[in-house]
Structure formats: structure tokens, C-alpha cells
């Protein structure tokens, strides 16, 4: 489970940034008092326009960033008190296919398994499982620089899932991918849900959200403006498509925030 408790992330602005943003404020909130809960066996979708605060929230959940206020409990551990324990429970995947160009898929997956302290037997078993499932075996010994974007994203998935994490964080996992690779990622998310994992993902592709989502939250300008189950959302906006409903929620939100809490 992921329990985000009244979390904020505030950045101090330099004089240059103040000029660029044309503001006299000394700081800016990337995320402002956000609270939400992701349950095991459910897919939680985090929506928002670019710069809304989705990635900052996901980075705080994965302990890359420290909140300036509030706490997040991930799998029973606080990100402030036990960040290393939190990291041992999560798998983090972004859509930008960040890999080491001079290594092979096999080497990358082994590197991350070693950093997670996996024993050899468990590693071999998980590697085989993931490489078979994602069809990586054909290019397992090629260097990353020789692979296509789709192949790289498959390796990214294997890298994030090698230690069999109970909590999986996907930050726009299918962005820029071809239909076949995107489909395999969607299938993987579904499988993770079946296995009882806690899944949180952000996406701009509404069809994916519609297909996968059990719970939904919308962030705008760092604030949570909508948080509900997908069933309630569908009932509430039955006359509109997901995209139309999303735009309406974002447009009607004010600084006071219209938060629909489940």
C-alpha cells in the first residue's frame, strides 16, 4: 500500500527563476498538501497536465525527492525514516527508457539485481521469467545502443521488475512506444494487479487509463483536485468521455481546489 499523507514539495526560487516566472514569490510549490492512498491489487492512476506535479509526487514516493512537508508510507515504511527499506519494495519505471548504452540487457538486469541484494538462484529464475515474457532473449547479449526504443523499454521493465517488487511506480511508461510494446506493458500492469501488487502510474494516454485504472486522482498546479474510484468517476461523468471529463475537472478547479474524495 502507498499512503501519501499531506505531502508538499516546495522549491526556493533563485533571482533568475523569479525573473523567468515573473513573480516576487521566494518559493514555489511543485506539490501542495497532497494526500492519497493506493491499495494492493489495484491500479491507481495519477493524471495531470505537464508540470502539474505528477512526476514530483512519484519521485517522492520512490524516495528520489524528499518532501518539504508530510510523509509517505510505502509498504508500511516511512520514506523519511526508512528510505532504503522503501526502495527495496518498489520498482520504478519511467517512459524515457533510461539505460546504459554500453551494457547488454543481461548485464543491466544483473546490476540492478545485485544492487537489490538478490541471491543468484532467485535472480536466474526471475530473469528467465521476465526475459521469456518480454521476449528479450533474442537481444539479451546485444549492447543497448544497438536496440530499438521498444526493445529498450522492455529491458527497462525487466530492470524495474527483477526483484519482484510489491509496489510498482510507472511514470508515463508507454510514452513514445509502438503499439505492440505499449500493449505488452499494459499486459504487464494487468498481471501485476493480478499478483496483488500496488500499482501507481501516470499517463497522458486516456485510453490506457480507461483500460487499466481502478482508482484515479487528478493533480493541477501541484494540488490534488480529484480523487475517486474509477467506478464512481464513470458514474459521475457518464455523459462524457474520460478526456472531456478530465478537461472539465482541470478547468473548473480553482485555487481552493475542488477535491472529490472517495
Amino acid at each position: 500500500m502507498i499512503d501519501v499523507q499531506n505531502v508538499s514539495k516546495q522549491y526556493q526560487l533563485s533571482n533568475k527563476q523569479k525573473k523567468e516566472l515573473q513573480t516576487n514569490d521566494t518559493s514555489v510549490f511543485a506539490v501542495n498538501k497532497v494526500s492519497l492512498t493506493c491499495q494492493p491489487g489495484r491500479v491507481f492512476s495519477l493524471l495531470g497536465a505537464n508540470g502539474a506535479g505528477k512526476t514530483t509526487t512519484l519521485r517522492m514516493i520512490s524516495t528520489i525527492l524528499k518532501p518539504t512537508e508530510g510523509d509517505i508510507i510505502v509498504g508500511g515504511e516511512s520514506i523519511l525514516n526508512n528510505p532504503e527499506k522503501v526502495r527495496s519494495k518498489i520498482g520504478f519505471l519511467t517512459g524515457s527508457t533510461n539505460l546504459y548504452d554500453r551494457l547488454t540487457p543481461g548485464e543491466i538486469v544483473k546490476y540492478f539485481a545485485d544492487l537489490h541484494g538478490m541471491d543468484k538462484q532467485k535472480f536466474e529464475h526471475r530473469k528467465q521469467l521476465l526475459f521469456d515474457q518480454l521476449n528479450i532473449n533474442d537481444f539479451a547479449k546485444k549492447r543497448i545502443s544497438q536496440l530499438s526504443t521498444g526493445m529498450k523499454q522492455k529491458v527497462s521493465i525487466a530492470r524495474s521488475m527483477i526483484h519482484d517488487p510489491a509496489i510498482v511506480i510507472f511514470d508515463e511508461p508507454t510514452s513514445g512506444l509502438d503499439v505492440i510494446t505499449a500493449h505488452s506493458i499494459i499486459e504487464l500492469i494487468k498481471q501485476c494487479r493480478q499478483e496483488g501488487k500496488t500499482i501507481i502510474f501516470s499517463s497522458h494516454i486516456m485510453s490506457e487509463v480507461d483500460l487499466l485504472c481502478d482508482d484515479l486522482a487528478i493533480i493541477s498546479k501541484g494540488k490534488l483536485i480529484y480523487n475517486n474510484t474509477m467506478t464512481n468517476f464513470r458514474n459521475e461523468f457518464s455523459h462524457q468521455s474520460l478526456t472531456e471529463a478530465f478537461i472539465e475537472i482541470v478547468n473548473t478547479s480553482t485555487n481552493a481546489a475542488i477535491v472529490h474524495q472517495a
Partner: protein
């Protein structure tokens, strides 16, 4: 420790597959430096030989008949019918090498036991020319002097009231060490720094630029251990570059023809266990110092290009103290043993010469270790900042 080793293993695999690192850390010092030394020395020797054998085209003006035969030698081609003006013009046009002008009163002055003047017109850019002509004029001078001694009926010793008899008690090792010992550290310090430079940019800024840093920070390992693994990998590449430079230079110098026996002895000493152990006790903290310093610098860079423009000027900062060590008169003492880079260069010079003060050496090693730890700690402080490690 497992995390450090895991990161180190991966970083070494990754970085040793990088062509730029291979070029700066292995190929350049191991192949190019020896080739340069070997090639330049060979070329210099062949040019000198050629210049020494080439007949000099000279014009003799106002030469008294008595000394007409002075330049009668196959090494000189005498040009006739030239004046000083036309001779100077010919030198400018490279159709003549020199004009030797005996002043009109030369013979009178010489006969009157005075100094006769000979003017030599030449281009100083003409290799070996002055010494080749001076050789002939010196023998003429000696001949004239001998005539005067006989004429005055005095002994040669009467004209040489003092003879300096040099008794150099410095061993050949010390002489060579002090004279050329500063050049070796200058080269290996430079290559150690360059060797650290590319891996530092690649493993820190490169990882940040590509976005792999973000995923690396989601593993259950402390940032400290990740950074330690990276710093060790960077310093190992720097150390490898320094080692390849030393081996390359020693091998090239040993292969040089006509190398003096004493010099060869010094080179053999440099491969002794004692020299290697003493050198590496300084080189290891030096490479960690470079790795820590470069890591701390490149963490704030957002791209490879930006990092490169940040660290390239540092090369000059490193070179200056290394060059200072090659200047005669700058010695290792209690003050210089605390100055980074200069201290290792001076200490290496002293070790080669066999005159190292062991306590000053200890200060050099300890100060380098302290400096390495301080820069590594500073680097960790930078690495802990969110704004530094994310794009």
C-alpha cells in the same frame, strides 16, 4: 561493501567500453607517448646529423693571405666575389649560410699583439651553424695564441693562473634525477588527471544527462556507497593512465639508441619495488583526489558539454604546479610538501635522485590522503543534493 563493489564492477565494465576513456587512459599514454619520445629523439638526431654533414656556404671577406686556408675543408663551400651587403642579402635569400668578415686592420692588430676582430653574419635559426664556424675560428685563435706564447717566450701555464678541477660528488643517479626527474611526474600527473576526466564526466554527468541516475537512486543502496563505487572506478582509470604513461616512457627511453649507461641505470631503478611502492603510495591518493574533485565539479553540470567546459580549464591549474617542479631550484621542503600536485612532482624527482627525506615524503603522502578524503566528502555533499543529481 557489496554495493560499492557492484557499482565499481559495473562502472569499470561500462567505462572501459568507452572509446574516449580508452584513448585517454590507455592508447594515448601507452602508445603515443613512447612513439613521440622515440620519434622526436630519432628525428632530432637525424636532423642534427644531416645539419652537421651539410657543407656550409660561406663568404670570406678581407681574409689575410696567411689565413686563407683556414676554411679549406670539404665541410665548407667558399663563395667568391661577395661584399658584406650582397652576402647579407644572400643569407636573407637562403643562398648563403654565413659571411665571415675580417676587419681591414685585423692583421695589423694581431701583429701588434692586440685583438683582431672577425665579424660573423648568419641567421641564428640555422641549426649548428655558429658552432661549426666558431670551431674553425677557435682553432685559428688557438694557433695565434700559440704563436704569441712562443714569441713572448712564456709558458702556457703563465697564461693560465687558475685551473678549475671539477670534482662532482653527486652520483649519476642524483644528477640525472635532479635534472630530468621533474619531467616524468609532469607527464604522469597530467595523464592521471586526463584519465580521470572522461570517466568522471561520463559516470556522473552522463548518467544524469541520460536519466539513468534517477533509476539508480531508486535502488536500496545509499548514495554514499554509490558515489564511493563511482569515485573508485574513476580513480582506477586515472591510475591506469598514469601507470601506462610511466611504463610507456620508461620503455621508450630504454629502447632509445645511444642512451648513456648512467641514465639506463636510473631507468632500471625506476622499475624497482621500492620506487614503485613509494610512487603508488602517492599516486593512489592523488588519483582519488582528482576523482573526488572532478566528481564534485561535474555533478552540477546538466550535460556532457557543460561538464567538459567546466573541467577542461582545470587541466591548466594542474599543469602549473607540475611545471614548477621541473624548474631547477624548486625543491621539496616542509612548505612545498603541503602543496598538492607540486608535492608529488617534487617528491618523485627526489625519489628518482635517491635524495628523498623520508619525513617529508610522509608529509606528502599524508597531505594527499587528507586532500583525497576532503574532496571525496565534498563530492558526497554535492551528490546528496536533490538539485544536483536530477536533470
Amino acid at each position: 561493501m557489496n554495493t560499492v563493489f557492484t557499482v565499481l564492477k559495473k562502472e569499470l565494465t561500462d567505462t572501459l567500453r568507452d572509446k574516449r576513456t580508452l584513448l585517454s587512459a590507455i592508447i594515448l599514454p601507452a602508445i603515443v607517448i613512447p612513439l613521440l619520445i622515440f620519434g622526436v629523439t630519432k628525428l632530432q638526431k637525424s636532423l642534427m646529423d644531416k645539419a652537421g654533414e651539410k657543407p656550409l656556404r660561406i663568404a670570406l671577406i678581407g681574409v689575410p693571405a696567411t689565413y686563407q686556408n683556414t676554411f679549406n675543408d670539404s665541410k665548407y663551400k667558399l663563395q667568391q666575389n661577395l661584399t658584406v651587403a650582397t652576402g647579407k642579402d644572400a643569407i636573407q635569400k637562403d643562398s648563403l649560410d654565413a659571411v665571415v668578415e675580417f676587419q681591414p686592420d685585423f692583421l695589423t692588430k694581431v701583429n701588434d699583439m692586440k685583438s683582431g676582430e672577425v665579424k660573423l653574419y648568419f641567421k641564428s635559426t640555422n641549426l649548428l651553424l655558429y658552432s661549426r664556424i666558431a670551431e674553425k675560428l677557435d682553432s685559428l685563435k688557438a694557433e695565434l695564441l700559440k704563436g704569441r706564447i712562443q714569441q713572448l717566450k712564456i709558458s702556457e701555464q703563465a697564461l693560465t693562473p687558475l685551473v678549475i678541477s671539477k670534482q662532482d660528488i653527486a652520483s649519476p643517479k642524483e644528477q640525472i634525477g635532479k635534472l630530468v626527474g621533474g619531467f616524468l611526474p609532469y607527464i604522469f600527473i597530467l595523464f592521471c588527471f586526463i584519465g580521470c576526466m572522461y570517466p568522471a564526466i561520463d559516470l556522473i554527468t552522463g548518467e544524469k544527462e541520460k536519466g539513468t541516475m534517477e533509476t539508480l537512486l531508486t535502488v536500496p543502496a545509499s548514495r554514499f556507497k554509490i558515489l564511493v563505487g563511482k569515485i573508485i572506478a574513476i580513480s582506477l582509470v586515472g591510475l591506469c593512465a598514469a601507470t601506462m604513461t610511466i611504463l610507456g616512457m620508461v620503455t621508450a627511453l630504454k629502447l632509445l639508441p645511444d642512451i648513456p649507461k648512467e641514465f639506463l641505470g636510473v631507468l632500471n631503478d625506476m622499475l624497482s619495488l621500492k620506487f614503485v611502492a613509494m610512487l603508488y603510495c602517492m599516486l593512489i591518493p592523488l588519483s582519488i583526489f582528482f576523482a573526488g574533485m572532478l566528481s564534485a565539479m561535474v555533478i552540477s553540470a546538466k550535460s556532457f558539454k557543460e561538464a567538459q567546459s567546466m573541467v577542461t580549464p582545470m587541466t591548466f591549474v594542474i599543469i602549473i604546479p607540475a611545471i614548477l617542479a621541473t624548474i631547477p631550484g624548486i625543491e621539496l621542503n616542509w612548505q612545498t610538501s603541503f602543496i598538492p600536485v607540486l608535492n608529488i612532482a617534487l617528491a618523485t624527482k627526489e625519489i628518482i635522485a635517491g635524495t628523498i627525506n623520508i619525513w617529508q615524503y610522509a608529509v606528502v603522502v599524508i597531505s594527499l590522503i587528507v586532500l583525497a578524503l576532503v574532496t571525496a566528502f565534498f563530492s558526497y555533499k554535492q551528490f546528496s543534493k536533490e538539485s544536483m543529481v536530477l536533470k
